[in-house]
């Protein structure tokens, strides 16, 4: 570390010695860009390169024009410039080698640290951003260029994408269905014309540059194969322009590969060799970071999570501190229970009605005597279900399948524990939910149980100064309140007491919470989303359930459907019940339930869900969101889900007394 610093600083000192000496003799040249001179205030010319600091006003202006950003931090080795099209240009301090879009290149001078800033080879950077420095007798003209022509063929369809440094201003001249001419004003090009690629729908691509150095015009002529048709594709980026050609043979000609082949033809980076390009790679499983905690004496149930498992099975994860023997029993009337001997429960008993798979109820009780305590977990199922037990060092996982069993065994015993494992191991598969992988997330005993409360808290998302998402004339805060008010009516009819975090267009924020969160360093004056107040409404009321209602949005138009998010393990069966009941009524795509660190589901102490009802960014979903009948159906679906999960409040109160 120190040696490195010493070397860096010595380099900086040398550089400035040069810079000071250089100012007199080797002043930065006149640099012309986009109609004006770029004025550099922290720059020095060297070896045909222009070394410019990241704090230089000219550098800042140049990058702003290109919508590019710089990431650099003192005490770091790398300087990363992100172009508008999301390619990155990566410089390493003290090294001439750099990468642009994953392709390696050499700068004549290595970048250096300069206090809190970095000094970069400007011309190399400009080229990487598709801007070519063109020397004229009097000055250097920074000429934006068409930097890449991507040609991608899939089946009988060839997609040609033009990428440039700047938003593309195009004049299109479609001469025929087979031939199109694109003119880009203000852009030069060093692309070579390309001939025919076999098996594609494009015969040739011609590139011609006219105009002056300062105001060039590039014309690209694409000649399709005989009988081909073309259309312009909407592009996600203003810096890219895409035309698709389809051959007359259509899909007949095709040996269509299942995935698009790598970029071919005229782009500089060969896909296989470019380090910045995706390759098939397997993920290394993360090692479990479990910390064993040995507890002597009597065993204690410290956690109990009820989670959906594969094939509609229900998994109950019992976490024990200490070792315990258990015995299970199957009764004739579709009941099954397991007793943990010499074991105590850290919380009160628990009743769950998951309405999930084949499980009708789960009941947890402290039984036995004070000398010989026992904990009983009992299931009521729809039939003689297959029930698997998986003892581990941390406890026992009980999996209730939807399949029935013909096994005649009526009882069994086992032993579990010995060490309580604080399970928060990283899931090895990024796409598996924690319930699939066994990465338990429960910090301990949670009161997901039926607490006998008749109160449900509804949270219409956003409100007041926070409109939420806004697309196609829809405003999220208005829709969420509308659905919540409809749902309130339905739940009151079921016998629930309903509290709302907001009844009008306001953002519910308590001054107390703002002060507390600022004091804790968890918020700042610009942080308008103080969601704690919404959680407090439910936590302080001792609510049985919490439902937050939202409308989704995505940067990708194709994303659509309904998702119910949960965080705490006891949220999961509730989320399943809501999703299962909303989908048939709403008619939206079933995007399933997802485990997610959303604030309101994490910071509420009862089973809680956040439903993203539909996407305000998908035209199909937008058409639905515009219909009051859809909003009513969503409300009805949620109400049905509540009933399926928790029954009606009067029935719960009755079962609590028993």
């Amino acid at each position: 570390m120190n040696r490195f610093r010493v070397r860096v600083f010595s380099l900086i000192a040398l550089f400035f010695a040069c810079a000071v000496g250089a100012r007199a003799q080797d002043a930065p040249p006149n640099v012309w860009f986009q109609g004006t001179r770029l004025i550099f205030d922290h720059a020095v010319a060297s070896q045909g390169e222009l070394m410019v600091s990241t704090r230089d006003a000219g550098m800042r202006r140049f990058l702003d024009r290109l919508a590019a950003t710089v990431s650099y931090q003192p005490q770091q080795r790398y300087v990363v410039i992100t172009a508008a099209d999301r390619r990155t240009v990566v410089f390493t301090l003290g090294d001439q080698s750099y990468t642009a879009g994953g392709v390696r290149a050499q700068a004549p001078v290595a970048p250096l640290a300069d206090g809190d800033d970095a000094v970069l080879p400007f011309y190399a950077l400009a080229r990487a951003l598709y801007v070519e420095p063109v020397a004229t007798p009097s000055e250097i003209v920074l000429q934006p260029r068409i930097g890449a022509l991507d040609v991608r063929t899939e089946g009988g369809r060839t997609t040609v994408t033009v990428r440039a440094a700047m938003p593309l201003v195009t004049t299109t001249n479609a001469e025929s269905s087979e031939r199109v001419q694109l003119s880009f004003a203000g852009l030069g090009s060093s692309l070579a014309p390309a001939g025919r690629a076999p098996g594609t729908a494009v015969d040739s691509i011609g590139v011609a540059v006219a105009g002056s150095t300062k105001v060039p015009i590039t014309t690209i002529t694409i000649q399709g194969a005989r009988g081909a048709t073309h259309r312009v594709l909407a592009s996600g980026s203003p810096d890219a322009y895409t035309v698709v050609f389809e051959s007359a043979r259509g899909s007949v000609a095709v040996n269509a590969p299942p995935t698009p082949p790598p970029l071919a033809g005229w782009t500089p980076p060969p896909a296989g060799a470019a380090p910045g390009y995706p390759q098939t790679a397997t993920t290394q499983p993360a090692p479990a970071t479990a910390a064993p905690l040995i507890v002597a004496g009597r065993a204690t149930v410290t956690g109990l999570a009820i989670e959906p498992a594969a094939d509609d099975a229900l998994a109950v994860r019992v976490t024990l501190s200490g070792a315990a023997s258990y015995a299970w029993h199957r009764l004739n009337d579709n009941r099954w229970y397991v007793d943990f001997q010499n074991t105590t429960l850290t919380g009160p008993g628990r009743d769950e009605h998951p309405s999930f798979g084949a499980v009708q109820s789960v009941r947890v009780r402290q039984t036995g005597s004070s000398d010989a305590p026992a904990v009983r977990i009992a299931f009521s199922t729809t039939g003689q279900q297959r029930i698997d037990l998986a003892p581990s060092e941390s406890g026992l996982v009980i999996t209730v399948s939807t399949a029935t069993t013909t096994d005649v065994a009526r009882t069994g015993t086992g032993r579990t524990g010995g060490a309580a494992v604080v399970a928060s191991a990283a899931s090895p598969d990024p796409n598996a939910s924690p319930s699939d992988t066994g990465g338990g997330t429960s910090p301990g005993w949670k009161f997901g149980a039926n607490n006998g409360s008749k109160i449900i808290v509804l949270d219409p998302g956003h409100g007041g100064a926070d409109p939420g998402t806004q697309h196609y004339g829809l405003v999220e805060k208005v829709l969420t309140l509308d659905i919540a008010q409809r749902l309130k009516t339905l739940l009151v009819a079921q016998g629930w007491t309903v509290r709302m975090t907001r009844e009008t267009d306001v953002d519910p924020v308590s001054a107390e919470n703002i002060a507390k969160m600022r004091a804790d360093g968890k918020a700042n004056p610009d942080d308008r989303a103080y969601l704690q107040t919404r959680c407090d409404v439910a936590n302080n009321a001792g609510a049985r359930l919490f439902i937050s209602i939202h409308v989704n949005s995505a940067p990708i138009e194709s994303a659509r459907g309904t998702t119910v998010y949960w965080y705490k393990p006891q949220d999961a069966p509730f989320a399943q019940a809501i999703e299962k009941n909303v989908i048939p009524l709403a008619g939206t795509q079933d995007d399933g339930t997802r485990h997610e660190n959303f604030y309101v589901v994490r910071h509420t102490s009862m089973p809680a869900v956040l439903i993203e009802t539909a996407f305000a960014t998908n035209p199909g979903d937008v058409a639905l969101l515009r219909q009051p009948s859809f909003l009513q159906n969503v409300a009805q679906g949620i109400a049905n889900g509540v009933k399926a999960y928790a029954g009606s409040p009067s029935a719960n109160a009755l079962s609590q007394q028993q």
Partner: protein, 169 residues
């Protein structure tokens, strides 16, 4: 005089960079991005630049590599790859590494559009998975927006009051 000084500087830089040995982290890192479904993560391999490895300072090596990984994840996969991306202009301002926690400061562009839970979830799942790859020795990720601690993202869904980890998603 000037030329001599510069020659010395360049020679020093050359000497410095060629004294490389094999890094403990290796020459490539894994960066994740979220597919269009908003939850499926795709890993891609990114070479460190340059692939020379460590310069005899393991702490600098680790800190720089984690910073690099964060910038690559926020920039997202190459153009043309369909992915749920951070809003335009979003970039990493700083990454501080304290033990097994990375504290990432992201530019305010991340708040430039009020996003739904879908995008917040996809973006930060990819970031957390990238930074917690085993060889970095990071297990939790704190997030700041333009230097400030926030309770949630401005979109108002994802909680940022507690460090994020792989089990957050």
């Amino acid at each position: 005089m000037l030329i001599v000084l510069f020659a010395v500087a360049v020679a020093a830089a050359w000497w410095f960079t060629t004294r490389a040995k094999q890094s403990a982290i290796g020459d490539t890192i894994t960066v994740y991005y979220a597919k269009a479904d908003g939850t499926t993560l795709v890993p891609w391999q990114v070479s460190l630049n340059p692939a020379r490895g460590e310069r005899g300072d393991a702490a600098l090596d680790r800190r720089s590599t984690i910073f690099y990984a964060a910038t690559q994840c926020v920039a997202g996969p190459p153009p043309g790859t369909q992915a749920v991306r951070f809003p335009a202009g979003t970039h990493v301002l700083a990454v501080d590494v304290q033990g097994s926690t990375a504290d990432v400061d992201i530019s305010k562009d991340v708040a430039s559009s009020a996003e739904g839970g879908f995008a917040e979830s996809a973006e930060f799942k990819a970031l957390v998975w990238t930074l917690t790859q085993p060889k970095f020795g990071i297990d939790s990720v704190k997030v700041k927006i333009a230097g400030a601690r926030v309770a949630t993202l401005p979109g108002g869904h994802l909680g940022l009051d507690e460090p994020l980890s792989r089990s957050s998603f």
